[in-house]
């Protein structure tokens, strides 16, 4: 069994609690306008030879061997991407090995996997960091290329089993329906979650995304205040 790894960061202060070893897997179903890692989107099968040379292949054992020297120094491992759950079989194999070592695991996901897949994966990991990009399905589709039916279903499931470490929304004024999303999350018992509100930045964004407007600090504060009014208690502005 082989996993396709785009990149690894041995110490990260921004991918979960404490110090995380982060593994970025190749491939994503979404094609977000504001993606900051567009090189991770393409499915492995579609990569050109040159692109493929930048993707590294690992067996589950080989990947775990990369992580273990840092075990004493991290709070755990975060799998990100791309969308790491696209390589589900490999991911679960790695998680089994990491769990045998007692290592904490978080999955950074776009939430588009099927509920059946999610239920399988959930048993092997400690938590999820879920992107909620928009509430309105059409907006979501414009932004990512796909609708958000599964994302919202998966949010409800993960929240019900208390496995959401963090939810995130990238704020783009006049584009993302931020207030409606906050209303929905509030109505679906999301208020106790750690909610990261990320200001859209067009630096490094290509194509159509370049035209999107970054929020002002004042706008970010207004959204934070709105979320606080709606009952959110743990908001992180980035």
């Amino acid at each position: 069994m082989i996993g396709y790894i785009r990149n690894m960061i041995k110490n990260s202060a921004v991918d979960g609690p404490g110090n995380r070893f982060v593994v970025f897997l190749q491939g994503c179903q979404f094609n977000c306008l504001y993606c900051h890692n567009p090189e991770t989107i393409k499915s492995v099968k579609l990569l050109t030879a040159e692109e493929a040379s930048e993707v590294h292949t690992y067996s589950p054992e080989a990947l775990v061997d990369m992580i273990l020297p840092f075990k004493d120094y991290i709070s755990g491992v975060t799998f990100s991407g791309g969308e790491c759950t696209l390589q589900m079989e490999f991911l679960i194999a790695v998680c089994r090995l990491l769990k045998a070592e007692g290592i904490h695991i978080l999955i950074d996901t776009n939430g588009h996997m099927s509920l059946a897949h999610l239920k399988t994966l959930e048993a092997h990991v400690d938590g999820f960091m879920l992107d909620l990009k928009a509430l309105d399905s059409k907006i979501h589709k414009t932004l990512t290329g796909l609708d958000n039916k599964r994302v919202l279903e998966n949010f409800i499931y993960l929240n019900a089993i208390s496995k959401l470490y963090e939810i995130r929304t990238v704020i783009i004024p006049e584009f993302v329906d931020d207030q409606a999303l906050i209303d929905w999350l509030s109505a679906h018992e999301g208020c106790n979650l750690r909610y990261k509100l990320i200001a859209f930045r067009n630096h490094g964004v290509k194509g159509e995304g370049k035209k999107l407007k970054p929020p002002s600090t004042a706008y970010m504060r207004s959204i934070e205040n709105y979320a606080i009014q709606k009952g959110f208690k743990n908001i992180v502005l980035i």
Binding site: I9, K10, N11, A13, V14, D72, Y73, I74, S75
Partner: protein, 512 residues
């Protein structure tokens, strides 16, 4: 003005007429001039040559040492018994306890004339906090906090030298939390603080300590299990980061500048087999003579009240063999591209030098070093303000710091040699400052794998760690404008900033 002054008279005159030294600094400097008027220490011509070449450096200890360099009083004993000499009864209340300590601090000698250790202050004060309301000595938590905050202000404004060191931990206490809170509010450079840290330290307390250090560069974290395995539980972290026995101290600390010794030859074999053994023999002879003078000629233990009242004990004293410039010494012998901190070969040579240095130092016995079976303890000295191109102890030079894991892995290999002190310093940006658990994860890993001592601060802090001591950047600016400053260590800090590129220390962000 008197004509035809001798050099010493000239120095004394300059001290007296300085418009930048405080009155207290003048008095202390004049005492140093007086001490240096004597030539009572026997010194061979070989030692003189090494000293003149700056290879052996006595760190301005003076020509006639009249007290041990570092004194580590047993403050717990003092709290229990008071002091007959100072006419102090054991304290019953928090206010008396603080008052007693403040009085004792004025009478603890050291190389700096200020106490380099002021106690495990959380444990000293904890018994006086959280009493029952009907207890005659009851103080509310808020009143206790205010008293502790004033105690810390008193220390900062009267012990005007940042080699003054308080310890806290390893267990969390109410007082410990109050000290951290007060330090975050005060952001003063004095006292230096170390958290003795191990698995017994509550995570919440350790996180609070990390947050405090991001703001005000203290506390540092000491690997409590490592120190306790060498000294037993009864040790303290004093001055910069020196591990020493409580109720004792260190007579002296001279330092060997390895980089300058290395420059004497291009032949590594000569360096390892001839120069190193010779300089160690000479430096130990020099320190032996200093110790003889303090113990046998000055008779310090016979007349000082700390000794008479059992707050220090001759049996608990040792002395420190300092070294600096390992990185530069290694680089001197390595081919281009194999630099210390970036090359396994360079690291291996560093370890080889340390093994030889340790073995050579341990060959010698001094009967006065009772606390350490007659042996000197190795010490990774933090440098002095005039050092240029000489890295502290075994540190990787500023400007050449590798990514954080490589940096820590390197330090882990070298810290074991230095029970009497070694440490590394990291600067973190604000992304890291928001994630204190990240720093704690790194500390946990590093301590589990042999790192002894770690300090850090946020990149926007005013209080920063220079090499081992703390200085406020705003005070350095004041001094640079020619204004008088209260704390003598600001002068040293300014020198280190000018000469050792302290402001250029690598800032670690979210992933480097």
């Amino acid at each position: 003005m008197q004509k035809n002054m001798t050099p010493m008279q000239r120095e004394i005159y300059d001290t007296i007429t300085s418009d930048i030294l405080t009155y207290e600094m003048k008095v202390n400097t004049l005492a140093k001039h007086a001490e240096n008027a004597l030539a009572v220490l026997e010194m061979s011509s070989v030692i003189k040559t090494y000293r003149d070449a700056g290879i052996i450096c006595d760190l301005f200890e003076g020509g006639a040492p009249y007290r041990p360099r570092y004194i580590v009083p047993d403050y717990e004993k003092f709290m229990k018994q008071g002091s007959a000499f100072l006419k102090l009864e054991p304290a019953n209340s928090l206010y008396d306890a603080i008052n007693n300590l403040q009085i004792l601090y004025r009478h603890v000698p050291s190389i700096t004339t200020f106490p380099v250790y002021i106690g495990n202050i959380d444990l000293l004060l904890e018994p006086y906090i959280g009493l029952e309301k009907d207890d005659p000595n009851y103080v509310s938590d808020e009143a206790a906090y205010e008293a502790i905050k004033r105690f810390l202000i008193y220390i900062d404004r009267t012990i005007t030298d940042s080699f003054c060191h308080a310890n806290i931990g390893p267990k969390a206490t109410q007082t410990g939390y109050m000290i951290l809170r007060a330090e975050r509010e005060l952001q003063d450079s004095i006292p230096n603080i170390t958290l003795k840290y191990n698995a017994e330290t509550a995570v919440e307390f350790a996180i609070d300590a990390v947050k405090t250090s991001m703001i005000t560069a203290k506390p540092s974290f000491a690997n409590h299990d490592m120190f306790a395995s060498e000294f037993g539980e009864n040790y303290a972290i004093v001055s910069c980061y020196n591990g020493l026995p409580i109720g004792g101290g260190s007579y002296t600390l001279a330092r060997l500048v390895l980089s300058r010794l290395a420059e004497k030859t291009t032949d590594l074999d000569v360096f390892l087999k001839e120069l190193l053994p010779d300089v160690v023999a000479q430096m130990i002879q020099y320190m032996d003579e200093r110790i003889r003078f303090i113990v046998e000629e000055v008779g310090f233990f016979g007349h000082h009240f700390l000794s008479k009242e059992g707050l220090i004990n001759y049996e608990n004293f040792t002395a420190m063999f300092g070294m600096v410039g390992l990185a530069e010494a290694v680089n001197h012998f390595m081919p281009e591209g194999e630099r210390f901190g970036h090359s396994e070969k360079a690291e291996a040579l560093g370890l080889q030098i340390m093994e030889i240095l340790q073995a050579e130092v341990n060959k010698y016995d001094n009967p006065h070093l009772k606390a350490t079976n007659g042996h000197y303890l190795l010490h990774a000295q933090v440098g002095i303000d005039t050092d240029i191109g000489i890295s502290p102890g075994v540190r990787i030079p500023i400007g050449e710091e590798p990514p954080i894991y490589e940096h820590i892995f390197n330090a882990q290999k070298f810290h074991k040699y230095f029970p009497s002190g070694v440490g590394d310093i990291f600067t973190f940006d604000q992304t890291v400052a928001k994630n204190p658990e990240y720093v704690l994860n790194l500390i946990n890993g590093a301590f589990k794998n042999g790192m002894r001592y770690i300090s850090f601060y946020g990149d926007d802090a005013d209080v920063i760690r220079i090499t081992g001591y703390l200085v406020k950047k705003s005070e350095i600016e004041k001094l640079s404008r020619g204004e008088m400053v209260l704390r003598d260590t600001v002068v040293l800090g300014k020198g280190a900033v000018d000469n050792a590129r302290v402001y250029e220390r690598k800032v670690r962000d979210e992933s480097n």
